[in-house]
Protein backbone atom coordinates (compact mmCIF):
# COMPACT_ATOMS: atom_id res chain seq x y z
CA UNK A 1 0.00 0.00 0.00
CA UNK A 2 1.23 3.55 -0.75
CA UNK A 3 0.90 5.55 2.45
CA UNK A 4 1.67 9.19 3.20
CA UNK A 5 2.07 10.55 6.72
CA UNK A 6 1.21 14.23 6.99
CA UNK A 7 2.29 15.74 10.29
CA UNK A 8 4.28 18.82 11.22
CA UNK A 9 6.10 16.89 13.99
CA UNK A 10 9.13 15.03 12.68
CA UNK A 11 9.11 12.36 15.43
CA UNK A 12 5.51 11.46 14.64
CA UNK A 13 6.31 11.15 10.91
CA UNK A 14 9.33 8.99 11.76
CA UNK A 15 7.38 6.74 14.14
CA UNK A 16 4.74 6.07 11.53
CA UNK A 17 7.37 5.66 8.85
CA UNK A 18 9.26 2.96 10.76
CA UNK A 19 6.10 1.12 11.73
CA UNK A 20 4.68 0.97 8.22
CA UNK A 21 8.08 0.17 6.76
CA UNK A 22 8.13 -2.97 8.92
CA UNK A 23 4.84 -4.03 7.41
CA UNK A 24 6.21 -3.68 3.90
CA UNK A 25 4.27 -0.55 2.93
CA UNK A 26 5.66 2.18 0.74
CA UNK A 27 5.73 5.25 2.96
CA UNK A 28 6.22 8.91 2.18
CA UNK A 29 5.99 11.83 4.57
CA UNK A 30 4.93 15.45 4.32
CA UNK A 31 5.37 18.17 6.92
CA UNK A 32 2.41 20.27 5.76
CA UNK A 33 -0.85 20.10 3.86
CA UNK A 34 0.70 22.00 0.98
CA UNK A 35 3.57 19.53 0.68
CA UNK A 36 1.09 16.64 0.85
CA UNK A 37 -0.98 18.06 -2.02
CA UNK A 38 2.18 18.61 -4.07
CA UNK A 39 3.18 14.98 -3.54
CA UNK A 40 -0.33 13.78 -4.33
CA UNK A 41 -0.28 15.70 -7.60
CA UNK A 42 2.81 13.72 -8.59
CA UNK A 43 2.10 10.25 -7.22
CA UNK A 44 -1.08 8.45 -6.21
CA UNK A 45 -1.39 7.31 -2.59
CA UNK A 46 -3.83 4.75 -1.21
CA UNK A 47 -3.90 6.07 2.32
CA UNK A 48 -3.07 9.29 4.12
CA UNK A 49 -2.58 9.72 7.86
CA UNK A 50 -3.27 13.38 8.51
CA UNK A 51 -2.70 15.32 11.70
CA UNK A 52 -5.55 17.73 12.44
CA UNK A 53 -3.46 20.44 14.00
CA UNK A 54 -0.88 21.77 11.58
CA UNK A 55 0.28 25.28 10.83
CA UNK A 56 -1.11 26.70 7.59
CA UNK A 57 -3.55 24.26 6.05
CA UNK A 58 -4.97 22.14 8.89
CA UNK A 59 -5.92 18.48 8.67
CA UNK A 60 -9.62 19.10 8.05
CA UNK A 61 -8.83 21.49 5.18
CA UNK A 62 -6.39 18.99 3.71
CA UNK A 63 -8.95 16.19 4.09
CA UNK A 64 -11.53 18.27 2.19
CA UNK A 65 -9.02 19.10 -0.58
CA UNK A 66 -7.93 15.46 -0.91
CA UNK A 67 -11.51 14.17 -0.99
CA UNK A 68 -12.42 16.74 -3.66
CA UNK A 69 -9.51 15.95 -5.96
CA UNK A 70 -8.74 12.29 -5.15
CA UNK A 71 -11.92 10.78 -3.71
CA UNK A 72 -10.58 7.23 -3.76
CA UNK A 73 -7.63 8.13 -1.50
CA UNK A 74 -8.47 7.07 2.04
CA UNK A 75 -7.70 9.49 4.86
CA UNK A 76 -7.28 8.74 8.55
CA UNK A 77 -7.24 11.70 10.86
CA UNK A 78 -4.83 11.68 13.78
CA UNK A 79 -4.62 14.17 16.56
CA UNK A 80 -3.43 14.77 20.05
CA UNK A 81 -6.09 17.43 20.44
CA UNK A 82 -8.98 15.15 19.71
CA UNK A 83 -12.50 16.27 20.23
CA UNK A 84 -15.78 14.70 19.28
CA UNK A 85 -16.62 17.75 17.14
CA UNK A 86 -13.51 17.51 14.97
CA UNK A 87 -13.93 13.73 14.69
CA UNK A 88 -17.53 14.10 13.56
CA UNK A 89 -16.53 16.85 11.14
CA UNK A 90 -13.70 14.71 9.72
CA UNK A 91 -15.92 11.67 9.31
CA UNK A 92 -18.60 13.80 7.67
CA UNK A 93 -16.11 15.14 5.10
CA UNK A 94 -15.07 11.60 4.27
CA UNK A 95 -12.33 10.46 6.68
CA UNK A 96 -12.12 6.69 6.92
CA UNK A 97 -11.27 6.74 10.61
CA UNK A 98 -10.01 8.85 13.44
CA UNK A 99 -7.12 8.09 15.81
CA UNK A 100 -6.31 9.89 19.01
CA UNK A 101 -2.54 9.74 19.54
CA UNK A 102 -0.90 8.04 21.28
CA UNK A 103 -2.91 4.94 20.45
CA UNK A 104 -2.49 1.29 21.29
CA UNK A 105 -0.56 -0.70 18.68
CA UNK A 106 -3.66 -2.89 18.31
CA UNK A 107 -5.76 0.11 17.32
CA UNK A 108 -3.53 0.85 14.36
CA UNK A 109 -3.74 -2.79 13.29
CA UNK A 110 -7.55 -2.64 13.45
CA UNK A 111 -7.62 0.58 11.45
CA UNK A 112 -5.37 -0.98 8.82
CA UNK A 113 -7.68 -4.00 8.62
CA UNK A 114 -10.59 -1.62 8.04
CA UNK A 115 -8.62 0.16 5.33
CA UNK A 116 -7.84 -3.10 3.58
CA UNK A 117 -11.57 -3.96 3.64
CA UNK A 118 -12.47 -0.54 2.27
CA UNK A 119 -9.86 -0.90 -0.48
CA UNK A 120 -11.33 -4.26 -1.38
CA UNK A 121 -14.77 -2.67 -1.63
CA UNK A 122 -13.29 0.15 -3.74
CA UNK A 123 -11.70 -2.28 -6.18
CA UNK A 124 -14.99 -4.18 -6.41
CA UNK A 125 -16.71 -0.88 -7.12
CA UNK A 126 -14.11 -0.02 -9.77
CA UNK A 127 -14.63 -3.41 -11.36
CA UNK A 128 -18.40 -2.91 -11.46
CA UNK A 129 -17.90 0.62 -12.76
CA UNK A 130 -15.75 -0.81 -15.54
CA UNK A 131 -18.50 -3.27 -16.36
CA UNK A 132 -20.98 -0.43 -16.46
CA UNK A 133 -18.68 1.53 -18.79
CA UNK A 134 -18.69 -1.44 -21.13
CA UNK A 135 -22.48 -1.39 -21.07
CA UNK A 136 -22.49 2.28 -22.07
CA UNK A 137 -20.30 1.34 -25.04
CA UNK A 138 -21.67 0.01 -28.25
CA UNK A 139 -18.98 -1.51 -30.47
CA UNK A 140 -16.45 1.09 -29.34
CA UNK A 141 -18.98 3.91 -29.68
CA UNK A 142 -19.35 5.63 -26.36
CA UNK A 143 -22.49 7.41 -25.30
CA UNK A 144 -25.28 7.34 -22.79
CA UNK A 145 -27.28 10.30 -24.07
CA UNK A 146 -30.81 9.65 -25.34
CA UNK A 147 -29.63 10.60 -28.87
CA UNK A 148 -26.85 8.01 -28.87
CA UNK A 149 -29.04 5.36 -27.23
CA UNK A 150 -31.54 5.84 -30.06
CA UNK A 151 -28.70 5.48 -32.59
CA UNK A 152 -27.53 2.25 -30.96
CA UNK A 153 -31.05 0.86 -31.30
CA UNK A 154 -31.21 2.00 -34.92
CA UNK A 155 -27.87 0.35 -35.70
CA UNK A 156 -29.18 -2.97 -34.42
CA UNK A 157 -32.35 -2.58 -36.44
CA UNK A 158 -30.74 -1.59 -39.75
CA UNK A 159 -27.81 -3.99 -39.49
CA UNK A 160 -29.96 -6.97 -40.42
CA UNK A 161 -31.57 -5.25 -43.40
CA UNK A 162 -29.37 -5.07 -46.47
CA UNK A 163 -30.52 -1.59 -47.44
CA UNK A 164 -28.14 1.29 -48.14
CA UNK A 165 -27.52 3.52 -45.16
CA UNK A 166 -26.62 7.19 -45.23
CA UNK A 167 -24.89 8.52 -42.14
CA UNK A 168 -25.28 12.26 -41.78
CA UNK A 169 -23.27 14.17 -39.25
CA UNK A 170 -20.61 16.78 -38.78
CA UNK A 171 -16.99 15.89 -39.19
CA UNK A 172 -15.55 14.01 -36.22
CA UNK A 173 -18.86 12.61 -34.96
CA UNK A 174 -17.75 9.01 -35.50
CA UNK A 175 -19.50 8.11 -38.74
CA UNK A 176 -16.96 5.45 -39.65
CA UNK A 177 -17.32 3.81 -36.22
CA UNK A 178 -21.06 3.62 -36.75
CA UNK A 179 -20.58 2.19 -40.26
CA UNK A 180 -18.26 -0.44 -38.74
CA UNK A 181 -20.83 -1.22 -36.03
CA UNK A 182 -23.54 -1.74 -38.66
CA UNK A 183 -21.20 -4.03 -40.59
CA UNK A 184 -20.23 -5.93 -37.45
CA UNK A 185 -23.84 -6.60 -36.57
CA UNK A 186 -24.89 -7.49 -40.13
CA UNK A 187 -24.89 -10.97 -41.71
CA UNK A 188 -21.86 -9.72 -43.69
CA UNK A 189 -19.79 -9.33 -40.50
CA UNK A 190 -17.30 -12.05 -41.46
CA UNK A 191 -16.65 -10.47 -44.86
CA UNK A 192 -14.48 -7.41 -45.58
CA UNK A 193 -15.28 -3.86 -44.53
CA UNK A 194 -13.64 -1.33 -46.80
CA UNK A 195 -13.72 2.40 -46.06
CA UNK A 196 -12.89 5.02 -48.67
CA UNK A 197 -12.78 8.74 -48.05
CA UNK A 198 -14.13 10.09 -51.33
CA UNK A 199 -13.10 13.63 -50.41
CA UNK A 200 -9.45 12.65 -50.14
CA UNK A 201 -9.10 10.92 -53.52
CA UNK A 202 -9.15 12.68 -56.92
CA UNK A 203 -12.03 11.64 -59.17
CA UNK A 204 -9.98 9.71 -61.72
CA UNK A 205 -8.13 7.79 -59.04
CA UNK A 206 -11.40 7.10 -57.21
CA UNK A 207 -12.79 5.50 -60.36
CA UNK A 208 -9.79 3.21 -60.64
CA UNK A 209 -9.86 2.43 -56.89
CA UNK A 210 -13.54 1.51 -56.96
CA UNK A 211 -13.86 -0.21 -60.31
CA UNK A 212 -10.32 -1.53 -60.85
CA UNK A 213 -8.57 -1.46 -64.19
CA UNK A 214 -7.26 -3.67 -66.93
CA UNK A 215 -3.57 -3.80 -67.74
CA UNK A 216 -2.75 -0.92 -70.07
CA UNK A 217 -6.04 0.87 -69.42
CA UNK A 218 -4.07 4.09 -68.98
CA UNK A 219 -0.48 5.19 -68.62
CA UNK A 220 0.87 3.62 -65.47
CA UNK A 221 -1.66 0.79 -65.38
CA UNK A 222 1.08 -1.77 -65.75
CA UNK A 223 -0.97 -4.63 -64.41
CA UNK A 224 -4.56 -5.67 -63.95
CA UNK A 225 -6.07 -4.50 -60.69
CA UNK A 226 -9.32 -5.37 -58.96
CA UNK A 227 -11.30 -2.44 -57.59
CA UNK A 228 -12.85 -2.18 -54.14
CA UNK A 229 -16.25 -3.31 -55.45
CA UNK A 230 -14.66 -6.64 -56.29
CA UNK A 231 -12.28 -6.79 -53.33
CA UNK A 232 -15.10 -6.22 -50.84
CA UNK A 233 -16.52 -9.48 -52.12
CA UNK A 234 -19.81 -9.69 -50.26
CA UNK A 235 -18.79 -7.33 -47.45
CA UNK A 236 -19.56 -3.69 -46.74
CA UNK A 237 -18.26 -0.72 -48.71
CA UNK A 238 -18.21 2.53 -46.77
CA UNK A 239 -17.97 5.70 -48.84
CA UNK A 240 -17.19 8.63 -46.56
CA UNK A 241 -17.80 12.22 -47.70
CA UNK A 242 -20.04 11.02 -50.51
CA UNK A 243 -21.09 14.63 -51.10
CA UNK A 244 -17.61 15.30 -52.50
CA UNK A 245 -17.83 12.98 -55.50
CA UNK A 246 -18.40 14.29 -59.00
CA UNK A 247 -21.67 14.05 -60.91
CA UNK A 248 -20.07 11.59 -63.35
CA UNK A 249 -19.01 9.31 -60.55
CA UNK A 250 -22.48 9.58 -59.04
CA UNK A 251 -23.92 8.27 -62.34
CA UNK A 252 -21.42 5.39 -62.38
CA UNK A 253 -22.18 4.47 -58.80
CA UNK A 254 -25.92 4.69 -59.40
CA UNK A 255 -25.54 2.20 -62.24
CA UNK A 256 -23.55 -0.20 -59.99
CA UNK A 257 -26.21 0.05 -57.30
CA UNK A 258 -28.97 -0.72 -59.80
CA UNK A 259 -27.26 -3.46 -61.78
CA UNK A 260 -24.89 -4.88 -59.13
CA UNK A 261 -22.34 -5.14 -61.89
CA UNK A 262 -19.17 -3.19 -62.59
CA UNK A 263 -16.90 -2.81 -65.56
CA UNK A 264 -13.20 -2.33 -64.89
CA UNK A 265 -11.57 0.75 -66.47
CA UNK A 266 -10.31 -0.31 -69.89
CA UNK A 267 -12.55 -3.37 -70.02
CA UNK A 268 -15.88 -4.10 -71.59
CA UNK A 269 -16.58 -7.23 -69.64
CA UNK A 270 -19.05 -6.60 -66.77
CA UNK A 271 -18.32 -8.36 -63.47
CA UNK A 272 -21.07 -9.18 -60.96
CA UNK A 273 -20.45 -7.64 -57.53
CA UNK A 274 -22.05 -8.18 -54.15
CA UNK A 275 -21.72 -5.56 -51.44
CA UNK A 276 -23.63 -3.47 -48.98
CA UNK A 277 -23.22 0.25 -49.34
CA UNK A 278 -22.96 2.63 -46.41
CA UNK A 279 -22.32 6.25 -47.23
CA UNK A 280 -21.61 9.22 -45.02
CA UNK A 281 -21.66 12.94 -45.41
CA UNK A 282 -21.03 16.03 -43.35
CA UNK A 283 -22.74 18.17 -46.00
CA UNK A 284 -26.38 19.00 -46.46
CA UNK A 285 -27.05 16.79 -49.48
CA UNK A 286 -30.56 18.14 -49.97
CA UNK A 287 -29.15 21.64 -50.27
CA UNK A 288 -26.59 20.28 -52.72
CA UNK A 289 -29.45 18.75 -54.75
CA UNK A 290 -31.25 22.10 -54.79
CA UNK A 291 -28.02 23.75 -55.91
CA UNK A 292 -27.68 21.14 -58.65
CA UNK A 293 -24.44 19.68 -57.25
CA UNK A 294 -25.83 16.33 -56.24
CA UNK A 295 -28.02 13.96 -58.23
CA UNK A 296 -31.43 13.41 -56.73
CA UNK A 297 -31.74 9.83 -58.12
CA UNK A 298 -28.40 8.87 -56.59
CA UNK A 299 -29.41 10.50 -53.29
CA UNK A 300 -32.58 8.42 -53.04
CA UNK A 301 -30.56 5.29 -53.80
CA UNK A 302 -28.08 5.85 -51.00
CA UNK A 303 -30.36 7.12 -48.31
CA UNK A 304 -32.83 4.28 -48.03
CA UNK A 305 -32.14 4.55 -44.32
CA UNK A 306 -30.65 7.72 -42.87
CA UNK A 307 -29.00 7.96 -39.49
CA UNK A 308 -28.40 11.48 -38.21
CA UNK A 309 -25.49 11.60 -35.80
CA UNK A 310 -25.78 14.56 -33.46
CA UNK A 311 -22.79 16.84 -32.97
CA UNK A 312 -21.10 16.59 -29.57
CA UNK A 313 -22.48 19.97 -28.43
CA UNK A 314 -25.98 18.47 -28.70
CA UNK A 315 -25.15 15.52 -26.48
CA UNK A 316 -23.08 17.22 -23.82
CA UNK A 317 -23.98 14.53 -21.30
CA UNK A 318 -21.61 12.19 -23.20
CA UNK A 319 -18.60 14.51 -22.93
CA UNK A 320 -17.55 13.39 -19.44
CA UNK A 321 -17.82 9.72 -20.41
CA UNK A 322 -15.87 10.24 -23.62
CA UNK A 323 -13.22 12.35 -21.87
CA UNK A 324 -12.73 9.62 -19.25
CA UNK A 325 -12.43 7.03 -21.99
CA UNK A 326 -9.83 9.03 -23.93
CA UNK A 327 -7.94 9.83 -20.73
CA UNK A 328 -7.62 6.14 -19.97
CA UNK A 329 -6.64 5.42 -23.57
CA UNK A 330 -3.88 8.04 -23.76
CA UNK A 331 -2.54 7.30 -20.27
CA UNK A 332 -2.14 3.73 -21.41
CA UNK A 333 -0.52 4.75 -24.71
CA UNK A 334 1.80 7.36 -23.22
CA UNK A 335 2.36 5.40 -19.95
CA UNK A 336 1.81 8.68 -18.08
CA UNK A 337 0.09 8.61 -14.72
CA UNK A 338 -2.64 11.14 -15.35
CA UNK A 339 -5.74 9.67 -13.84
CA UNK A 340 -8.33 12.37 -13.48
CA UNK A 341 -9.84 15.54 -14.80
CA UNK A 342 -10.60 18.27 -12.27
CA UNK A 343 -14.24 19.38 -11.86
CA UNK A 344 -13.32 22.80 -13.30
CA UNK A 345 -11.65 21.23 -16.33
CA UNK A 346 -14.68 18.95 -16.81
CA UNK A 347 -16.86 22.04 -16.86
CA UNK A 348 -14.60 23.61 -19.51
CA UNK A 349 -14.94 20.45 -21.62
CA UNK A 350 -18.69 20.32 -21.12
CA UNK A 351 -19.30 23.93 -22.06
CA UNK A 352 -16.96 24.07 -25.05
CA UNK A 353 -18.77 23.77 -28.40
CA UNK A 354 -16.48 21.14 -29.99
CA UNK A 355 -16.72 22.17 -33.65
CA UNK A 356 -14.47 19.18 -34.43
CA UNK A 357 -16.72 16.94 -32.32
CA UNK A 358 -15.46 13.68 -30.75
CA UNK A 359 -12.26 13.77 -32.81
CA UNK A 360 -11.44 17.23 -31.44
CA UNK A 361 -12.19 16.05 -27.90
CA UNK A 362 -9.92 13.06 -28.41
CA UNK A 363 -7.12 15.30 -29.68
CA UNK A 364 -7.63 17.75 -26.82
CA UNK A 365 -7.33 15.00 -24.20
CA UNK A 366 -4.27 13.56 -25.94
CA UNK A 367 -2.58 16.96 -26.01
CA UNK A 368 -3.44 17.64 -22.36
CA UNK A 369 -2.15 14.21 -21.25
CA UNK A 370 1.09 14.56 -23.22
CA UNK A 371 1.84 18.02 -21.83
CA UNK A 372 0.54 17.45 -18.30
CA UNK A 373 3.08 17.46 -15.49
CA UNK A 374 0.68 16.30 -12.80
CA UNK A 375 -1.81 13.49 -12.23
CA UNK A 376 -4.71 15.86 -12.55
CA UNK A 377 -5.81 17.64 -15.71
CA UNK A 378 -6.81 21.15 -14.71
CA UNK A 379 -8.76 23.78 -16.63
CA UNK A 380 -5.42 25.42 -17.47
CA UNK A 381 -4.45 22.25 -19.38
CA UNK A 382 -7.32 23.00 -21.76
CA UNK A 383 -6.51 26.68 -22.17
CA UNK A 384 -5.93 26.01 -25.87
CA UNK A 385 -9.67 25.40 -26.28
CA UNK A 386 -10.58 28.95 -27.19
CA UNK A 387 -13.96 29.50 -28.82
CA UNK A 388 -13.54 30.35 -32.50
CA UNK A 389 -13.72 34.11 -32.93
CA UNK A 390 -16.89 35.47 -34.43
CA UNK A 391 -15.96 36.42 -37.94
CA UNK A 392 -17.67 39.66 -38.64
CA UNK A 393 -18.04 39.53 -42.38
CA UNK A 394 -19.57 42.57 -44.05
CA UNK A 395 -22.82 40.58 -44.26
CA UNK A 396 -23.03 39.93 -40.49
CA UNK A 397 -25.52 42.20 -38.73
CA UNK A 398 -24.99 43.64 -35.28
CA UNK A 399 -28.09 41.72 -34.17
CA UNK A 400 -26.57 38.39 -35.33
CA UNK A 401 -23.27 39.19 -33.64
CA UNK A 402 -25.01 40.07 -30.37
CA UNK A 403 -27.19 36.97 -30.47
CA UNK A 404 -24.15 34.78 -31.13
CA UNK A 405 -22.12 36.35 -28.36
CA UNK A 406 -24.93 36.15 -25.77
CA UNK A 407 -25.49 32.48 -26.59
CA UNK A 408 -21.81 31.68 -26.15
CA UNK A 409 -21.61 33.43 -22.78
CA UNK A 410 -24.79 31.74 -21.57
CA UNK A 411 -23.47 28.33 -22.64
CA UNK A 412 -20.19 29.02 -20.93
CA UNK A 413 -21.99 29.82 -17.67
CA UNK A 414 -24.33 26.85 -18.00
CA UNK A 415 -27.23 29.24 -18.53
CA UNK A 416 -26.81 30.81 -15.14
CA UNK A 417 -28.26 34.22 -16.03
CA UNK A 418 -26.71 36.00 -13.05
CA UNK A 419 -23.20 34.87 -13.92
CA UNK A 420 -23.71 35.41 -17.64
CA UNK A 421 -25.07 38.92 -17.05
CA UNK A 422 -22.05 39.70 -14.90
CA UNK A 423 -19.70 38.46 -17.64
CA UNK A 424 -21.58 40.52 -20.22
CA UNK A 425 -21.56 43.53 -17.89
CA UNK A 426 -25.31 44.07 -18.24
CA UNK A 427 -28.00 43.56 -15.64
CA UNK A 428 -30.09 40.42 -15.39
CA UNK A 429 -33.31 42.08 -16.51
CA UNK A 430 -31.65 43.26 -19.73
CA UNK A 431 -30.22 39.81 -20.34
CA UNK A 432 -33.63 38.18 -19.82
CA UNK A 433 -35.10 40.65 -22.35
CA UNK A 434 -32.39 39.82 -24.88
CA UNK A 435 -32.88 36.06 -24.35
CA UNK A 436 -36.58 36.56 -25.06
CA UNK A 437 -35.95 38.82 -28.05
CA UNK A 438 -33.47 36.43 -29.67
CA UNK A 439 -35.53 33.39 -28.63
CA UNK A 440 -32.46 31.80 -27.05
CA UNK A 441 -32.94 28.50 -25.29
CA UNK A 442 -30.55 26.19 -23.45
CA UNK A 443 -29.72 22.86 -25.10
CA UNK A 444 -32.06 21.01 -22.76
CA UNK A 445 -33.09 22.36 -19.42
CA UNK A 446 -34.24 25.33 -17.47
CA UNK A 447 -32.62 28.68 -17.28
CA UNK A 448 -30.82 29.03 -13.98
CA UNK A 449 -30.68 32.20 -11.99
CA UNK A 450 -28.96 32.73 -8.69
Amino acid sequence: MDIMIVDDERIIRESFFHWFQKSGHKVATAASGKEALEKLAETPFDLLFVDIKMPGMDGIELLAAVKAAYPETLVIIITAYGSIESAVQAMRIGATDYLLKPFKPDQLSLVMEKVVQQQKRQSEYNYLKGRLEKITRFDNIIGQSPAMTAIFELITEVAGADASVLLAGETGTGKELIAKAIHAKSPRANLPFIAINCGAIPDTLLESELFGHQKGAYTGAIQERRGFFEVVNGGTLFLDEVGEISQKMQVDLLRVLEEKKITRVGSRQPVAVNFRLITATSRDLEAQIRAGDFREDFYYRIHVIQIDIPPLRKRREDIRLLAAHFLKKFCHETTKRVDRISPLASRVLETYDWPGNVRELENAIERAVVLSKSRLLNDSDFAFLRPPPVTATPGTSLREMEKYHIRRILDRHEWNVTRAAKALEINRVTLHKKIKRYQLKPAGGKIGSR
Binding site: S23, K104, P105
Partner: protein
Protein backbone atom coordinates in the same frame (compact mmCIF):
# COMPACT_ATOMS: atom_id res chain seq x y z
CA UNK B 1 17.49 -23.27 11.26
CA UNK B 2 20.84 -24.86 10.64
CA UNK B 3 24.09 -24.01 8.84
CA UNK B 4 27.70 -23.60 9.90
CA UNK B 5 28.80 -20.32 11.42
CA UNK B 6 31.58 -18.07 10.13
CA UNK B 7 34.21 -18.24 12.95
CA UNK B 8 35.33 -14.62 12.37
CA UNK B 9 31.84 -13.27 12.94
CA UNK B 10 30.56 -15.94 15.32
CA UNK B 11 32.16 -14.42 18.38
CA UNK B 12 30.08 -11.31 18.29
CA UNK B 13 27.02 -12.24 16.26
CA UNK B 14 24.35 -11.19 18.74
CA UNK B 15 24.70 -9.61 22.18
CA UNK B 16 21.85 -9.69 24.69
CA UNK B 17 22.20 -6.89 27.24
CA UNK B 18 19.90 -6.51 30.26
CA UNK B 19 19.36 -2.88 31.30
CA UNK B 20 18.97 -1.80 34.93
CA UNK B 21 16.72 -4.28 36.72
CA UNK B 22 15.85 -6.45 33.73
CA UNK B 23 16.07 -10.11 34.60
CA UNK B 24 19.37 -11.77 33.63
CA UNK B 25 17.47 -15.06 33.45
CA UNK B 26 15.20 -13.55 30.79
CA UNK B 27 18.34 -12.37 28.95
CA UNK B 28 19.76 -15.90 29.08
CA UNK B 29 16.47 -17.40 27.85
CA UNK B 30 16.44 -14.95 24.93
CA UNK B 31 20.08 -15.79 24.12
CA UNK B 32 19.31 -19.51 24.19
CA UNK B 33 16.33 -19.05 21.84
CA UNK B 34 18.25 -16.87 19.37
CA UNK B 35 21.08 -19.34 19.38
CA UNK B 36 18.74 -22.31 19.01
CA UNK B 37 16.51 -20.83 16.33
CA UNK B 38 19.07 -19.07 14.21
CA UNK B 39 22.18 -21.10 15.01
CA UNK B 40 24.06 -17.92 15.86
CA UNK B 41 26.65 -17.33 18.51
CA UNK B 42 24.98 -15.25 21.18
CA UNK B 43 26.55 -13.77 24.28
CA UNK B 44 24.78 -12.43 27.35
CA UNK B 45 26.48 -9.31 28.62
CA UNK B 46 26.49 -7.79 32.12
CA UNK B 47 23.67 -5.37 32.96
CA UNK B 48 24.01 -1.71 31.90
CA UNK B 49 22.36 1.51 33.06
CA UNK B 50 19.38 2.86 31.17
CA UNK B 51 20.35 6.02 29.22
CA UNK B 52 18.63 8.68 31.37
CA UNK B 53 17.71 11.01 28.50
CA UNK B 54 15.33 8.35 27.15
CA UNK B 55 12.92 8.95 30.04
CA UNK B 56 9.86 11.00 29.13
CA UNK B 57 8.92 12.52 32.48
CA UNK B 58 5.41 13.50 31.35
CA UNK B 59 4.57 10.02 30.13
CA UNK B 60 6.72 8.25 32.74
CA UNK B 61 7.87 5.92 30.05
CA UNK B 62 11.07 5.46 28.07
CA UNK B 63 11.26 6.63 24.47
CA UNK B 64 12.18 3.63 22.32
CA UNK B 65 13.57 5.77 19.49
CA UNK B 66 15.98 7.55 21.86
CA UNK B 67 17.07 4.25 23.40
CA UNK B 68 17.80 2.71 20.01
CA UNK B 69 19.83 5.73 18.98
CA UNK B 70 21.87 5.82 22.22
CA UNK B 71 22.53 2.07 22.38
CA UNK B 72 23.50 2.03 18.71
CA UNK B 73 26.13 4.69 19.34
CA UNK B 74 27.45 2.85 22.41
CA UNK B 75 27.82 -0.55 20.74
CA UNK B 76 28.91 0.56 17.32
CA UNK B 77 31.43 -2.16 16.47
CA UNK B 78 31.47 -4.80 19.16
CA UNK B 79 28.75 -7.03 17.75
CA UNK B 80 26.58 -7.61 14.71
CA UNK B 81 23.20 -7.13 16.40
CA UNK B 82 22.18 -6.10 19.93
CA UNK B 83 19.09 -7.15 21.83
CA UNK B 84 18.54 -4.75 24.74
CA UNK B 85 16.27 -6.03 27.49
CA UNK B 86 14.33 -3.69 29.80
CA UNK B 87 11.97 -3.97 32.74
CA UNK B 88 10.64 -0.43 32.14
CA UNK B 89 7.73 0.62 29.96
CA UNK B 90 8.67 1.67 26.42
CA UNK B 91 6.77 3.91 24.04
CA UNK B 92 7.04 5.49 20.62
CA UNK B 93 5.47 8.91 19.93
CA UNK B 94 2.43 7.36 18.24
CA UNK B 95 1.89 4.36 20.49
CA UNK B 96 0.83 4.18 24.13
CA UNK B 97 3.42 1.43 24.61
CA UNK B 98 5.49 -1.11 22.73
CA UNK B 99 6.54 -4.62 23.79
CA UNK B 100 9.61 -4.32 21.62
CA UNK B 101 11.04 -2.04 18.96
CA UNK B 102 13.54 -2.35 16.15
CA UNK B 103 14.22 -0.53 12.91
CA UNK B 104 14.10 -2.42 9.69
CA UNK B 105 17.65 -3.61 8.98
CA UNK B 106 18.89 -1.76 12.07
CA UNK B 107 21.42 -2.90 14.70
CA UNK B 108 19.58 -2.62 18.01
CA UNK B 109 16.34 -4.29 19.09
CA UNK B 110 14.54 -3.45 22.31
CA UNK B 111 12.45 -5.84 24.39
CA UNK B 112 10.44 -4.70 27.39
CA UNK B 113 9.27 -7.12 30.08
CA UNK B 114 7.09 -4.44 31.66
CA UNK B 115 3.77 -5.36 30.04
CA UNK B 116 4.58 -9.05 29.62
CA UNK B 117 4.43 -9.70 33.32
CA UNK B 118 0.68 -9.33 33.57
CA UNK B 119 -2.40 -10.72 31.90
CA UNK B 120 -4.92 -8.48 30.16
CA UNK B 121 -7.16 -8.93 33.23
CA UNK B 122 -4.38 -7.73 35.55
CA UNK B 123 -3.40 -11.10 37.03
CA UNK B 124 0.18 -12.37 36.86
CA UNK B 125 1.11 -15.15 34.47
CA UNK B 126 3.57 -17.91 35.41
CA UNK B 127 7.24 -17.06 34.88
CA UNK B 128 7.68 -19.51 32.01
CA UNK B 129 4.86 -17.69 30.12
CA UNK B 130 6.63 -14.34 30.64
CA UNK B 131 9.92 -15.78 29.41
CA UNK B 132 8.21 -17.32 26.40
CA UNK B 133 6.67 -13.94 25.54
CA UNK B 134 10.06 -12.20 25.90
CA UNK B 135 11.72 -14.76 23.63
CA UNK B 136 8.97 -14.34 21.00
CA UNK B 137 9.38 -10.57 21.01
CA UNK B 138 13.17 -10.84 20.87
CA UNK B 139 13.00 -13.17 17.86
CA UNK B 140 10.38 -10.94 16.19
CA UNK B 141 12.49 -7.80 16.63
CA UNK B 142 15.67 -9.61 15.59
CA UNK B 143 13.72 -10.61 12.48
CA UNK B 144 13.26 -6.90 11.69
CA UNK B 145 16.99 -6.30 12.25
CA UNK B 146 17.52 -9.03 9.66
CA UNK B 147 15.16 -7.24 7.24
CA UNK B 148 12.05 -9.39 7.78
CA UNK B 149 8.68 -7.67 7.44
CA UNK B 150 5.50 -8.37 9.36
CA UNK B 151 3.99 -11.64 8.21
CA UNK B 152 0.32 -12.31 7.47
CA UNK B 153 0.57 -15.82 8.90
CA UNK B 154 -0.63 -15.64 12.51
CA UNK B 155 1.37 -18.79 13.33
CA UNK B 156 4.62 -17.04 12.37
CA UNK B 157 6.85 -15.16 14.81
CA UNK B 158 6.82 -12.20 12.43
CA UNK B 159 3.06 -11.75 12.82
CA UNK B 160 2.35 -8.40 14.48
CA UNK B 161 1.02 -8.77 18.03
CA UNK B 162 -0.44 -5.69 19.61
CA UNK B 163 -1.57 -7.43 22.80
CA UNK B 164 -0.25 -10.17 25.05
CA UNK B 165 -3.24 -12.32 24.11
CA UNK B 166 -2.33 -12.18 20.44
CA UNK B 167 1.28 -12.76 21.36
CA UNK B 168 0.34 -15.90 23.31
CA UNK B 169 -1.63 -17.19 20.33
CA UNK B 170 1.23 -16.56 17.90
CA UNK B 171 3.28 -19.64 17.00
CA UNK B 172 6.81 -20.13 18.28
CA UNK B 173 8.36 -20.50 14.87
CA UNK B 174 9.13 -18.61 11.69
CA UNK B 175 6.98 -19.61 8.71
CA UNK B 176 8.85 -21.15 5.80
CA UNK B 177 8.90 -17.88 3.81
CA UNK B 178 10.34 -15.90 6.70
CA UNK B 179 12.79 -18.72 7.45
CA UNK B 180 14.03 -18.67 3.85
CA UNK B 181 14.39 -14.89 3.92
CA UNK B 182 16.30 -15.10 7.21
CA UNK B 183 18.71 -17.70 5.84
CA UNK B 184 19.31 -15.60 2.72
CA UNK B 185 19.99 -12.50 4.80
CA UNK B 186 22.38 -14.28 7.18
CA UNK B 187 24.26 -15.73 4.22
CA UNK B 188 24.46 -12.31 2.57
CA UNK B 189 25.88 -10.87 5.78
CA UNK B 190 28.42 -13.71 6.03
CA UNK B 191 26.98 -14.85 9.37
CA UNK B 192 26.36 -18.37 8.11
CA UNK B 193 28.34 -19.91 5.26
CA UNK B 194 26.66 -23.02 4.03
CA UNK B 195 23.23 -23.26 2.49
CA UNK B 196 20.98 -25.83 4.09
Amino acid sequence: MSGSTNPDRAKSAVAVIPYAGASTIAAKVIAAHVSGYLNLTVETRPPEKIPPDALDKRRRQYNAATLIQTIESMHRKDCFKVIALFDVDLFTPIFTHVFGEARQNGRVALVSLFRLESHMNGSSPPTDRVLERAAKIALHELGHLLDLLHCDDDRCLMYFSGSVDTLDQTGFNFCRYCRTALRRKLRQEGIIDTPT
